[in-house]
């Protein structure tokens, strides 16, 4: 479903950082991939390259066979099929919860009002906050905001969901409710790429774990392999620190 072929990304401002170095990977349809690694290891950059929020310096990414770095590709079409959830929620503060979930349906999918409202209510029900449909984002708790953000992404009927540390900005008591929604999604067969430090989540629903360090994929494998007998020293060190 997603083919990442030898991508490189270097930032030059404020100083030179090799964020991605020769990263290749293939993500199959229905797979749940969990990306872990220390801070600054390039996890976010990798994820953001998948929908071209960052452009790689070299290499190729094929999403359903479409080369997304090709200037001729209509990136908006590709992005419409990929939902993204951010660490800082990024809800639109000037719109109600309903407005947040319906805006892209209206602008990108051109759905009639009735259809997009139904879709929004159905998804808010699914993430467990249908009663907040008329609320403003600023009046919601972090966990509720993140669930709205997930509903907002799902409203586009994406084929792939990208999560960038969706629970890192949350108070501990709210992490569970967001993870619960993500687990449901995973069990429904959604293709997911999740950057997260939630090892429990990785164990329970992850099909594959990727460990990144200094812009490279150091090790990858099934959760059992990964957590029971990691082969690389850096992986062992990281797991010792985090577990």
């Amino acid at each position: 479903m997603i083919d990442v072929k030898h991508i490189y990304k270097t930032f030059y401002v404020p100083h030179e950082v090799k964020a991605l170095v020769d990263v290749s990977n293939t993500i199959e349809a229905g797979e749940v991939v969990v990306v872990i690694g220390p801070s600054g290891s390039g996890k976010s950059t990798f994820l953001r390259c998948l929908n071209r929020l960052e452009t790689a310096d070299h290499g190729q990414i094929l999403v359903d066979g479409v080369d997304i770095f090709d200037p001729k590709t209509n990136i908006n079409k590709v992005r419409a099929e990929m939902g993204m959830v951010f660490q800082s929620f990024n809800l639109y503060p000037h719109l109600s919860v309903m407005g947040n979930v319906t805006m892209a349906q209206k602008l990108v999918r051109n759905r009639p009002k009735k259809e997009r409202d139904e879709k929004a209510l159905m998804l808010l029900e699914k993430v467990g906050i249908a009663n907040k449909a008329k609320a403003w984002p600023s009046n919601l708790s972090g966990g509720q905001q993140q669930r709205v953000a997930i509903a907002r992404a799902l409203a586009m009927d994406p084929k792939i969901m990208l999560f960038d540390e969706p629970t890192s900005a949350l108070d501990p008591e709210m992490i569970g409710e967001v993870l619960e929604v993500m687990k449901t999604l995973a069990k429904e067969g959604m293709t997911m790429v999740c950057v997260t430090h939630e090892m429990g989540f990785a164990r329970e629903v992850g099909d594959r774990v990727i460990f990144m360090d200094e812009g490279m994929i150091v090790e990858e494998g099934t959760p059992e392999h990964f957590f029971k007998n990691p082969t690389h020293d850096r992986t062992k060190l990281f797991l010792k620190q985090i577990l």
Partner: protein, 338 residues
């Protein structure tokens, strides 16, 4: 209760407060009083009672006979009279109010004889007309200024060189020269050329007002570009990422996500800009547009009431700008509720 900036507790005593308020009014009256006495000392005769006619007046109308002849007929026409005069210059009928003439049928008239004299209908005076022109020009320029500013501002923050550089060039050129010079260029350079081209194509030439409006819109637009840019840049980049990652185009993201949020930051400096626009429109008198300032000048040349009219002129500007800032404060409170 509203928090005071100063943490020093002043005037907690109500008596001191009242005294201080009185002090303000004493000061005010002293300033006004000394100005008044100074003008009396230089023998200026205040004639405020003559000011209202610059807003509304009834013109004195006097009609004269155009040649030798006689009064053909005098017949009532509703509450007025039709006076028909036949002279060697032809037959004419004047409709005049009762009591404004003293003729009966068959009277002879010679050229220059007064046929009737009366007060005409109420008409707006020169200041009222000038104020209307100022309001009209400011309003239209505001609309165009906002349009230019939003287009320019969105272009300014885009990555496309043709948009970004055009916007920067526009802003830098306009902000780098005086408005008066720009008005002159718009009227005497652009206006002359354009009117010539229009005439060559058989289209009547444009009114100076339109060149004035163009100059003011382009000038204000350049400042609005910077205001809009600052507003857009005040929005967290995560908003753009969220919108774009859901497949919205750059412009959809701008107009549905970013600009509505930026509005709150944009509104206060925008209001200041439009208050400036009202005041700057006073320069348009230079290209023979009879806005409030020019109207005041013309009023003074005929009446010599220099002091009263300039003071009235200033008060009228104050009223316009004050009303605008009130409206904007109301809008700000409306948008700040979330």
């Amino acid at each position: 209760m509203k928090q005071n900036i100063s943490n020093i507790k002043r005037l907690s005593n109500p008596f001191a407060y009242v005294l201080s308020v009185c002090g303000f009014f004493v000061l005010l009256f002293m300033v006004i009083g000394s100005v008044y006495y100074a003008t009396v000392a230089v023998d200026y005769h205040w004639r405020w009672f003559k000011v209202p006619q610059y807003f509304m007046y009834q013109p004195d109308i006097t009609l004269y006979s155009e040649g030798f002849g006689e009064i053909e007929s005098v017949s009532p026409n509703k509450d007025k009279f039709d006076v028909t005069v036949t002279t060697d210059a032809g037959e004419r009928t004047y409709t005049v109010p009762k009591g404004s003439f003293d003729w009966t049928e068959g009277d002879l008239v010679s050229p220059g004889d007064m046929i009737a004299t009366y007060e005409g209908d109420w008409q707006p005076g020169i200041l009222a007309k000038g104020m209307w022109v100022t309001l009209k020009i400011s309003f239209i320029s505001t609309i165009f200024g906002i349009l230019l500013g939003i287009i320019g501002g969105v272009a300014r923050v885009s990555d496309t060189p043709v948009l970004k550089w055009s916007s920067i060039t526009y802003v830098e050129i306009i902000r780098g020269s005086p408005l008066l010079v720009q008005i002159m260029i718009f009227y005497f350079v652009l206006g002359t050329t354009m009117n010539k081209i229009l005439l060559m194509n058989g289209i009547p030439k444009l009114d100076p007002e339109w060149y004035g409006i163009m100059a003011l819109s382009v000038f204000t637009g350049a400042y609005v570009v910077e205001i809009v840019r600052a507003g857009i840049e005040s929005i967290h980049p995560g908003q753009v990422e969220a919108a774009r990652s859901s497949g919205m185009t750059y412009f959809q993201c701008m107009f549905h996500i970013i600009l509505p949020q930026a509005l709150r930051t944009i509104l206060p400096p925008l209001a200041g800009q439009f208050i400036n626009l009202i005041k700057d429109s006073s320069l348009l008198g230079m290209i023979s547009i009879r806005e409030l300032t020019k109207a005041t000048r013309e009023g003074i040349t005929t009446s010599l009431q220099t002091f009263e009219l300039w003071i009235v002129c200033a008060i009228l500007y104050l009223m316009m700008t004050f009303t605008l800032s009130m409206c904007v404060q109301y809008l700000e409170r409306r948008t700040a509720t979330r």
